[in-house]
Amino acid sequence: MTVQTGIQPISAARRAKDRLVQVLVYLAFALAVIPLLSVLWLVVKNGLGRFDMEFLTHSMRNIGARDAGGGAYHAIIGTLEQVLLASLIAVPIGLLTAVYLVEYGEGGRLSRTISFFVDVMTGVPSVVSGLFVLAFWILVLGMPFSGFAGALALSILMMPVVVRSAEEMLRLVPRELREASYALGVPKWRTIVKVVLPTAFTGIVTGVMLAVARVAGETAPLLLTVFITDSINNDPFNGPQMGLPLYVFDQAGRPTDTAINRAWTGALTLILIVMLLNLVARLITWWRSPARRR
C-alpha cells in the first residue's frame, strides 16, 4: 500500500460511504420515531372523542355495562395522589442516598454495596414490587388495599431512578466549587445544601420527572395493591382506589365500544398529565436558573 501525500480531493468511495452511513442514520432515526408517532397518533385519534367535561369530572359509579358516558375522575384523583405519595417517599430517600454516595461514601465498602443494590433495584420488574407490597404490607401487616399501598410499590420503582440520576448530577458539580466553599470556612453539610445541591438542581428535577413519568404509567403493581373501583375515593389511605393505568386496563378489558373508547381517553389523559408535570418542572428549573437573570 502506498502512502498518499499532499492534498487530495475526496475519493468517490469515501463519498459513497458517507452517503450510505448518512442514509442508515436517518433510517434508524425514522425507525425509532415511527412507533412513538404512531402511538401518539392512535391515542389522540381514538381518545379525543370522549375527552370531554363529563370524562374529567365523573366516575364510573352507576354506569352500566353498555352505557355510554362515565368518566375517569376517580382514576385521575387516584393517579395524582399515588404518584405524589410515591414521590414524597422516594425523592427524599433517593436524594439523600445520592448525597451519601457522592459526598460521604468515598468509594468505601458501604457505598459500593449500596450502589450494587441500587442497580439491582433498577432491574426489579414492576410486578415484583407490587407483589412485595401485597405480601408484606397487605397480607403480613394486614393493611387494606389502598392508594398508599400502591404508592409504596411505586416508590420502590422510583427510588433507584432518583438515586442514579441525582448521583450523576451531583458528580457533575465541579470539585472546585466545593473547595471554594470549604476555603471560605463553610462546613461540609452547608456546602452540600447551599452550593452543591443548588448547582445540580436542574438536573435533579429532570431526573425526578423521569422517575415520575416512569411510575405514572405502571399498571401491574397497582393491580396488586390499589385494587380497582368504579367510585371516587379521595382517601389514599383507606380502601381501594383507581389509577389511570388501572382504568385503561379495566376499560380495555370490557367488551363494548363505549368502554374501549373510555380506555383510549384514559390513556390520552395519562399522557397529558405526565406532559403537564414535565412542563411544570421545566418552568421551575427555568425560574431557578441563573440564565434568567442575565
Binding site: L177, A183, G185, V186, V195, T199, R293
Partner: protein, 258 residues
Amino acid sequence: MAKQIEVAGLDAYYGSHKAIEGISMTIEPRSVTAFIGPSGCGKSTFLRTLNRMHEVIPGARVVGKVRLEEQDLYGADVDPVSVRRTIGMVFQRPNPFPTMSIFDNVAAGLRLNGRYSRSQLDGVVEESLKGANLWNEVKDRLNKPGAGLSGGQQQRLCIARAIAVRPQVLLMDEPCSALDPISTLAIEDLISQLKQDYTIVIVTHNMQQAARVSDKTAFFNLAAQGQPGKLVEMDETSKIFTNPAEKATEDYITGRFG
C-alpha cells in the same frame, strides 16, 4: 489582623505517596511570600496544608506542625472549618458559584456561616469589591450572575469573596495563570495593596511575577521524579533572584532547568 505562620518539619501524603517532606519556614505578617519551583514539586500541596485544605482530598494527610501565632493548626481539638475561615484561599482557576449573583458570591462566606442583616451585607460586599478593585466595574449589576464576568473579573470576584470573611492570611494558588497580562497586572496591584492588611502567600510559575510582587521567595524542588518535594531555600526575594545561596536555585531562576 495579619498573623505570622510558622511551619516545622511538615510532611504531606496522598495515600502512601509522600508529596512533600521536611518543610520548615516562617511566613511574615503583612508581607507577600512567593513559592516558586518546577511543576509537581509540591508548592500547591504545601500551600493547601497551610489552611487544612489538603485533607479535603480523600486519603490525604499531614504530619508536622503549622502554627498561626502560637496556635497549632493541626492540634487535636482544632476545627478545620475555623482554620479555613481564618486563612482564606484563592484558586488557580476562578471558581465563582454559578448559581449565585455577584452580590451573593461575595456575601457567600458570611451568609453560609451565619445571619447578617441586609445592610451589614451591603457594607461588606461593597468594601470587599472595592478591596478587590472590582467595585466600579460591577456596582451597577450586582444581581447579575457571577459566572457572566470575564476571567480576570471572576478572579477578582473570588478574591473579594475570600477577603469578605476577613481572614488573617490569604493563600493564592497561581491566581493569574489563567488570566491575560492586563488582568494579571490588576491582580498584582491588588496583591501589593492587600499586603497592608493581610499575610499573603502566593504560588506562581511566573518568576517575574514572584520578583515583582513578593518580599520573600521560597524555592521548592524535588530530587527526582517520584521523590517528595523539598524546600531548597527561602530568603529575601531580591537575594534569591540576584545571589541565591544554592546552585539549584540559580539554575532554576536563570532558566537552566525547570
